[in-house]
């Protein structure tokens, strides 16, 4: 088999995906841009009128922004973790999903921290963080950490892109615009897919994959501690660090399944993203949902049984004002995916996607219930208890910005996969090369 001609073939196969602009895709992009613009307007309103346009007040100082932050960052870390694991153990069927995961990882790590910025009252002083850093200040370390993480994820993503850039550079046809050619040439940094180059690239990709696994664990643990190291009922919990990691994985696998489903549908990639991938991801989601359910149960059962006064207050709030949300987040959002995924006969692409959707929605709500009701039932009573100080309802500004965040995530995703094929061509080549070598060694063995 001639590798070079195979590469040409693949480029030909994927080029339409990169360059076509169908009517549907234009509409899709239009909607996303529109949502982002609404978000920008809401942002201008918030900056000019101050935080009083949000539902956040003296007591409930955190709202949906922080929940989106936790959610996106959790997505990113779990993506990093899963991607790292797939790379590290050289999982055989990883190729079809690895790029999806990597893009999710990087994009959510870009979108997530934006929501933290929205929580800041005086954004006009944001640059002070960079020009007047204090080494004693945790926030300085925060910035260093987020920068480190972001840089690492970008670097990792870039490494996985290089072979494809090289293929795209070498196989550009007359239809490819000049700027694309040039960009591919620059980004491919002279990668020629020789044996030593390939080994070198593999080695550093492997190193970066361990790095991002380690960073994901450390960073998400620290995020969990932001909550669990306080004395707040509902937060002060020794289980939070592993619980957050499991929860992050739960949402991560869920979003990956959703992305797989949408991409498969839209780009007609049934050949690459097969049922076996959904089943595999579904089984992973099942295992994680069992763990997640066990952790959630441990967390709430321990609280409920020990009934310390402050915990009782919190649980009363959860089971009265937040009853249906609680049921959805911690019963439906866990049990429904488990039931769907547990029985072999229920497992098909649509049902697995549905389970993932329930899981993601449930998890978002679970984060909401960790943040808001806790702030509504503080550890120390407050003196001035006007209802709008105690009760939080997100305003249109917050929702607009939340949906703008999701829209921006989808928009960037769409743009990236218009630039690089969503299925790594180099991965297909590598796989075929390996099968080939195998076949040469054992000419009579069957391959299925």
């Amino acid at each position: 088999m001639d590798i070079n001609s195979r590469k040409k073939e693949l480029v030909k196969e994927f080029t339409p995906m990169l360059q076509k602009s169908t009517f549907a895709s234009k509409i899709w992009m239009g909607i996303l841009v529109f949502l982002v613009l609404i978000g920008l307007y809401a942002f201008v309103v918030q900056v000019t009128k101050g935080h009083s346009v949000t539902g956040m007040r003296d007591n409930v100082v955190w709202g949906v922004y922080i929940i989106n932050f936790i959610f996106f960052v959790g997505l990113s870390y779990s993506g990093a973790f899963i991607s790292g694991i797939l790379h590290f153990f050289k999982t055989p069927w990883k190729n079809s999903v690895s790029r999806i995961i990597e893009i999710i990882t990087v994009l959510s790590l870009v979108i997530g921290p934006i929501f933290i910025l929205l929580c800041i009252g005086r954004l006009d002083r944001l640059h002070y963080l960079f020009i007047y850093p204090r080494i004693q200040s945790p926030i300085t370390w925060d910035i260093i950490a987020i920068m480190t993480d972001l840089f690492g994820c970008f670097l990792y993503l870039y490494l996985t892109f290089i072979p494809d850039f090289a293929i795209l550079r070498d196989n550009a046809d007359e239809n490819t615009p000049a700027w694309r050619r040039k960009l591919y040439k620059t980004l491919a940094i002279g990668y020629q897919d020789t044996e030593p180059q390939r080994h070198r690239l593999e080695k550093i990709t492997r190193i970066m994959s361990t790095m991002i696994i380690a960073m994901a664990i450390v960073a998400y643990t620290v995020l969990a501690w932001i909550f669990s190291l306080t004395l707040q009922p509902g937060w002060n919990s020794t289980i939070f660090a592993p619980y957050f990691i499991i929860a992050g994985l739960y949402s991560g696998v869920g979003v990956i399944i959703l992305a797989m489903y949408l991409i498969r549908k839209y780009f007609k990639l049934e050949h690459y993203i097969r049922k076996v991938h959904f089943i595999g991801a579904g089984v992973v989601l099942l295992v994680i949902s069992l763990l997640y359910g066990y952790f959630t149960f441990s967390e709430y059962f321990s609280r409920w049984f020990s009934h310390k006064t402050s915990d009782v207050d919190l649980l009363d709030t959860l089971f009265s004002r937040y009853f249906w949300q609680f049921i959805f987040a911690n019963y439906i959002g866990i049990i429904v995916p488990i039931v769907i995924l547990f029985f072999k006969k229920f497992r098909n692409i649509k049902s697995i996607t549905f389970a993932a959707l329930i899981a993601v929605a449930g998890l978002w709500l679970n984060r909401y219930l960790i943040v808001v009701p806790t702030l509504e039932t503080p550890y120390l009573p407050i003196q001035d208890t006007r209802p709008e100080f105690i009760h939080y309802t997100a305003t249109w500004v917050e929702w607009a910005l939340s949906f703008a965040g999701i829209a921006a995530f989808l928009l960037f995703f769409t743009l990236i996969i218009k630039f690089v094929p969503i299925i790594p061509m180099s991965g297909i080549i590598d796989h075929e090369r390996e099968v080939d070598t195998h076949r040469k060694k054992r000419p009579y063995a069957e391959d299925k």
Binding site: G190, Q192, T194, K203, I204, M208, Y322, Q325, F328, H391
Partner: protein
Amino acid sequence: MKRLIYILIVVIFFGNNSIAQEKDSIFDLKNYRTSFSFKTVKQEDNSRLVEVEFLAKNKKDRKDKLPIYDAEIKFYNDETLLGSAKTSKDGIASLVVPEDHTYVTDEEGNITLKAVFEGTDGLDEEEDEVTIKDIFLKLDLQEIDSVKTVKVNAYSIDSLGTEQPVEEATVGFFIQGMLSKMKIEEGDISDGEYEFEMLTKVPGDTIGNITIYAMIQDSDEYGNVSQKQTINWGAGQVNDDTTGDGNKLWSEAAPVWMYVVLTILLLGVWINYLYTIIHLFKIKKEGKELDVTM
């Protein structure tokens, strides 16, 4: 489907927060008896406060007290009217008699003060009388041999205008806190004098000031007398807390192990980044060489 989620979320977060509260209070005058108590305080600026607390107390339930407000109280020194005041919402009527007022006294120098409520249709007449000696407190804060000493002199002025030291009275000393006064010392005045050594390490306000009060309280002979003085004896600006190890969002210096651990972690990560980038450059170089050879 996205719209569905949107609606779902909006519906889920729509809660009913309206809680109605009603409170009934029933008042029957027959169950109450009135309490009319008169007290006088000689204040720090030597003016004298006369004050009446006028309450209706439930005969059965000792906790049930209702202030009687808008009742006019007249204050007399013997038969001389000092002035009149109306009770507030808390049932308190008060009047300040200036420092330079000359009181009618009996031969022993006692001042008789009287508060009178003349009665209305619903309420009987009330009267209360207090007889006290007018005394003066002089608070003297000094550092004697670098020992912070609080000294109080108590004297009355007799008809000839000479100071007569007070023989016996219990005086309390207080420091002004944010909300109330904290007692630091109590002792009996003898020969018109009492002194004690001030506590060290009293924090004081931001610039180290503390306000010390000397007070005679509810004395049968002298009524209430109060005097105060502010002095820079507090531990002041330097808050001792900085040396403690409480939880803080921010401290002057983070613990060293934190710097060490974080630096090691970050360095470890960045060294790997660097290693990766160096190899990327090597790939680039190899690529160039290939270009040349090809």
